[in-house]
């Protein structure tokens, strides 16, 4: 099938999110793959936001701007988002304003016929279900489950509202809605990036998370906190980001897998402590959820503007790992790697993600957990006689215990120290050995890094090179370009530091694709692989890269 893209638009507080979430669930129960992404202003009420839902019978998991259906909850939303409607798309709104549309006076009807405007949202969902040709019954099932806790009356009222919306839209649909989505037997699990991330952390053995609220990272700790009983992660809202990261380092030193999450500004405040984790060789996972900067920037928007900052974050020199998952499925793999490698090499690991990836809902046919899980690297204290926390070893990794694990004394010192963790000023001996010991970990670590993902390389002489959350958009972009008879391939990085041994295929032209202004990946690749950059496709308006954007901006 050709995928269908629905955009639900309205002001903050009008229920865009609720409508979207219920629709996503209904689509999933219907057996379809759904991809949803959101863009919204930094305010609690008002403004105009959108929630885009892409329906397909196979996973698409990339954003598309153009809408088959725009559902506008108010006039402003209609004005702002109408340009998104495809030529043959339709508008659903309260008032008739154009040819191809379904006009339903939701608020009037809700008030008059259902006795309360709070039913608008459920009516709207009913209307959308009708417009795409899904089954009302499925929606009823989802609504029943959703409102069950609130009692029978609430359930039945909502079913009536949904039915009302459904019926009215059915009528309006005639002649303009070509879509029909019969219930399928396939099953996809819709999961948001942030849900994948927090769940994966728990699975990876994370036991401690401290963070300070900052969009778009806040929901990660919120999910863990709200599900403390099930996931068993201690969470603490810190007084600031510096406290958050130092708490996490303390917890990790004391044996708990620990993480923190923040966005650029908060990450900046954590940089000193990243260096501390490097010096004390304490495992640490930091989620850097990017949004456009500099400074406060656009707090609720998306960007990939912190790549080089993350890689070079921290004074002095010490090994660190920087990962950037591509989508929800990849988040599971990368979070697992983050915790396991942080533990194995006793280093800070930065996971670069962004508003787009965290807030988007991906469909995964089957989240395969069997390959995933924690591997622990703490030493067995009973096999050690004279314990040296910072014993110099070939690969730089020393035996790690946590304090209290046995009678061995466990130490950590932010100063340069000897193998026992005590301050040293022995410049030509201990100091050099310790610097080299820490650096040695880089070499071993480099061997763990996966090469970038290659797609359609053969036969393409132009290659799009990107990183992180843009993978699916780039892959789809390649398909679109092929429709224009342009053959391009993709090389995509999700493991960014240290960079792996990798040979870029010869005699190709490389195009850097990034959600930023200065093509940071390009700078990095030039430095590490000496490749020449032919061109750049970059987006920096706070919205995610899409296949359409890539097609339009590729001029190679």
């Amino acid at each position: 099938m050709e995928d269908i893209n629905i955009v639900i638009a309205g002001s903050a507080g009008e229920g865009v999110q609720t409508v979207g979430d219920v629709l996503v669930e209904t689509i999933a129960v219907h057996g379809y793959s759904v991809f949803a992404w959101q863009e919204f202003e930094s305010r609690i009420r008002g403004g105009q936001n959108s929630y885009s839902i892409r329906i397909s019978d196979k996973p698409v998991n990339a954003p598309r701007m153009k809408a088959d259906i725009l559902l506008a909850l108010n006039e402003g939303a209609c004005n702002k988002y109408e340009p998104l409607i495809k030529q043959d798309g339709i508008l659903i709104a309260q008032k008739k304003t154009r040819e191809r549309m379904i006009a339903i006076a939701f608020s009037e009807i809700a008030q008059r016929e259902l006795g309360n405007r709070i039913y608008i949202n459920t009516m709207v969902i009913g209307a959308l279900v009708a417009a795409v040709g899904m089954e009302l019954e499925v929606l009823n099932h989802v609504l029943t489950r959703k409102f069950a806790k609130k009692g029978d009356k609430v359930v039945s009222d909502n079913l009536v509202a949904a039915g009302k919306g459904y019926t009215l839209a059915r009528e309006g649909c005639r002649g303009i809605c070509p879509w029909l989505l019969p219930k399928l037997d396939t099953h996809y699990t819709p999961i948001a990036g942030k849900e994948a991330l927090s769940t994966a952390a728990a699975l990876a053995g994370c036991r401690f998370m401290a963070a300070y609220p900052m969009s778009p990272s806040t929901d990660i700790i919120t999910i863990l906190s709200q599900n403390e009983k099930e996931l068993g992660v201690f969470t603490e809202q810190a007084e600031d980001e510096i406290a958050a990261v130092n708490m996490a380092i303390g917890a990790s030193f004391a044996g708990a897998r620990a993480m923190t999450a923040t966005s650029g500004g908060g990450f900046a405040l954590m940089v000193e402590a990243i260096s501390l984790a490097g010096m004390t060789e304490t495992p640490l996972v930091i989620i850097l959820a990017q949004r456009p900067g500099p400074a406060t920037g656009l707090p609720t928007r998306t960007a990939q503007g912190d790549l080089l900052f993350a890689i070079n974050a921290g004074h002095g020199e010490f090994p660190k790992l920087v990962l950037a998952p591509a989508d929800a499925d990849d988040i599971f793999k990368k979070i697992m790697r983050a915790f396991n490698l942080a533990d194995k090499y006793q280093i800070p690991v930065i996971v670069l993600t962004d508003q787009f990836l965290l807030d988007s809902i991906f469909s995964v046919q089957d989240i395969n957990l069997s390959q995933l899980g924690p591997t622990y690297y703490l030493t067995d204290p009973f096999k050690i006689q004279d314990y040296k926390r910072y014993l110099v070893t070939d690969n730089g990794v020393s035996p790690r215990l946590y304090p209290g694990q046995a009678t061995h004394l466990v130490t950590a010192d932010s100063d340069e120290h000897d193998s026992h963790g005590h301050i040293t000023e022995d410049l030509s001996g201990t100091v050099i050995r310790m610097v080299e010991k820490r650096l040695a970990k880089y070499r071993a670590l480099k061997g763990e890094i996966n090469p970038p993902e290659e797609a359609d390389i053969e036969g393409a002489d132009k290659i799009l090179v990107g990183w992180g959350s843009s993978r699916n958009a780039i892959l789809e972009g390649i398909e679109l370009l092929r429709e224009d008879d342009i053959r391009v391939g993709m090389i995509h990085f999700t493991e960014l530091w240290p960079l792996p041994e990798y040979r870029f295929p010869e005699s190709k032209q490389y195009w850097i694709v990034e959600n930023n202004t200065t093509a940071q990946l390009g700078r990095l690749l030039r430095s590490e692989y000496g490749i020449t950059i032919a061109g750049v496709i970059n987006r920096y308006d706070g919205l995610p890269l899409t296949a359409g954007y890539i097609r339009r901006n590729f001029n190679g």
Binding site: I242, M247, A248, P403
Partner: protein, 292 residues
């Protein structure tokens, strides 16, 4: 049985010979002996400064972290391994300057840890600049005209926030200090011990100056009386009271609920969440949809 010898470290001291930090170190060791704490049952946490070097000079687990960040590191350690006796050793620059925010928020959290703040009234390690407790008018390297801004009164802040144990010791009296530390460590919840720590290198006052001013609170002083305690620490006369300044009313300690409901063992010992549980969790995730 533990003896003071069990704590003897073998690291060369970086303190000036004769520094009063030695007496504090001694008092700390004596307190551990009295409490029969073994070195591996302790975790000393410090930042950067002369005071913050203390954990290197006795046998114990320790985390000597960043300047100003001992408190949050200690909170993480304390939560991750509640079986440890966690003690923060810090200077007033470390704890009230760079780390001021963490201390006032620690007062909110009331973790069951002890914070020992060596107060020498300036930054000693960086060579004598004013600190948050330097008195108005004192000339310091960076304030040769005399300090112009008022000192911070952290004991007053602690008392106002009902800190369960607020005490002040004097490095010149290790026995009293030892007793205060014993009480502090025994007290459930945050125990805060400020220690008057004369610095013989950058100090402007001879030891006699301190001896004239420092006095012990008498038996008639009631440390459970908040109002009296506040008046005591806000007093601007020249005297420096030592002893238990305040005992706040008992309250919940940090992470208490988590310990009851999830685990009161080291977090490292928790069983991993099973894949089945995670799978099941994921399948239910979207049903609750919007975050609460």
């Amino acid at each position: 049985m533990v003896s003071i010898e069990d704590y003897k470290g073998n690291v060369e001291f970086q303190w000036c010979p004769g520094c009063s930090n030695f007496s504090i170190l001694n008092a700390i060791k004596m307190a551990f002996v009295e409490l029969e704490k073994m070195p591996h049952e302790l975790c000393l946490v410090s930042g950067i400064g002369q005071a913050a070097k203390l954990p290197h000079y006795l046998r114990c687990n320790f985390f000597n972290g960043l300047h100003g960040r001992a408190i949050p590191a200690a909170l993480g350690i304390h939560v991750a391994n509640p079986l440890l006796t966690t003690i923060v050793v810090t200077g007033e620059g470390d704890c009230y300057g760079e780390g001021g925010n963490h201390f006032i928020h620690a007062l909110r959290r009331n973790p069951d840890i002890t914070a020992v703040v060596h107060n020498n009234e300036f930054y000693a390690l960086t060579k004598g600049q004013a600190s948050p407790t330097t008195r108005i008018g004192e000339r310091r390297t960076l304030q040769i005209q005399g300090v112009e801004i008022a000192p911070l009164n952290m004991p007053a802040i602690a008392i106002a926030h009902n800190c369960p144990f607020v005490a002040r010791g004097f490095a010149g009296d290790s026995m009293q200090l030892k007793s205060l530390l014993v009480e502090a460590i025994k007290n459930p919840g945050l125990s805060y011990v400020e220690v008057i720590q004369p610095c013989i290198t950058w100090g402007t006052h001879p030891l006699s100056w301190y001896k004239e001013r420092v006095y012990k609170l008498g038996g008639d002083y009631d440390p459970t009386n908040r109002q009296a305690a506040l008046e005591k620490v806000l007093d601007t006369d020249d005297k420096i009271p030592t002893g238990i300044l305040f005992r706040g009313s008992p309250r919940k300690t940090f992470a208490e609920r988590f310990r009851k409901e999830i685990t009161n063992r080291p977090l490292a010992e928790l069983e991993p969440v099973s894949k089945e549980k995670i799978s099941e969790f994921i399948s239910r995730l979207r049903m609750s949809s919007t975050l609460q």
